[in-house]
Symmetry: C2
Subunit: 180 residues, 2 copies
Amino acid sequence: MEHNLQHTISLLTRTPAALDALLRDLPETWTLRNEGENSWSAFDVAGHLIHAERTDWMPRVRIVLQFGETQTFEPFDRGGHAREIQGKSLGQLLDEFARLRSENLGQLRALNLRQEELALRGRHPALGVVTLSELLATWAVHDLTHLHQISRVLAHQYREAVGPWSGYLGVLQCAGHSSP
Amino acid sequence: MEHNLQHTISLLTRTPAALDALLRDLPETWTLRNEGENSWSAFDVAGHLIHAERTDWMPRVRIVLQFGETQTFEPFDRGGHAREIQGKSLGQLLDEFARLRSENLGQLRALNLRQEELALRGRHPALGVVTLSELLATWAVHDLTHLHQISRVLAHQYREAVGPWSGYLGVLQCAGHSSP
């Protein structure tokens, strides 16, 4: 399936409400636990999504439109969520994510990107040349990567509790693929 | 983390709204496409969740309470969603799932299960002896397995669209683990 800007926006619009419905007021034994060691909890992931709204997607869209391939994107800081989550509740993070996403989508819509602009090229610090279309599709799949991760992190907390059913439950077979 | 009935109910309560927020009115190019061959679309998964509400969780809870290990559960029909989805829209499936889940949780709460009842044993046709606690924990992780699957199935539709970013997106590395 080819990239379609309206389809991308449809998905991006829904993620904050989906995470809100899943996570708000869920007991902290689900939301604050991770998969061990330096892995992320659902709470950490919410902070990461906020950090990406601030520093990744729309800032990079603007760099492509303004400078094309001549200005390399700032590398994304994978530890940047630490600042976002400090002193916050999960409810506050969900509110903040919804607010930032809504603002960013408002700005994206206001750009009124034409089909030919989606082919514009930018420069990623590690991947090299990328298109605006690829950047926008990645924004959506990044949401799905973290929804996939959150469902796995929550399920991990019941790994023992399900007893012999564990072999039937696909999410418990997933060792994780996210560079978290 | 040990099984906790209130935590399980917290999660089970949230799944219908989370799926609704993610999927309702999302373009059909996301919701009706699968991962190829006989794999499931998000629409199929919604039908499967409905079928499990009708025939799996609460019916099995009642068998454990009434007959213990002496009556083996009916095998679950993995193709049972075919009847559920016929002639339905995704919106109708989401409504039906929410209604059945709410009814089932009402019945579960009304049982007022005591801690010692959670240790009661039943008999699964393939797994043998299982406890009521394991059955209820599995209900919750089954939701998460399918949320994990849906995020993967949606992401798959943009596998090409993300271009060189695909290596960074964990959900695209997941080959799937669900017996679907």
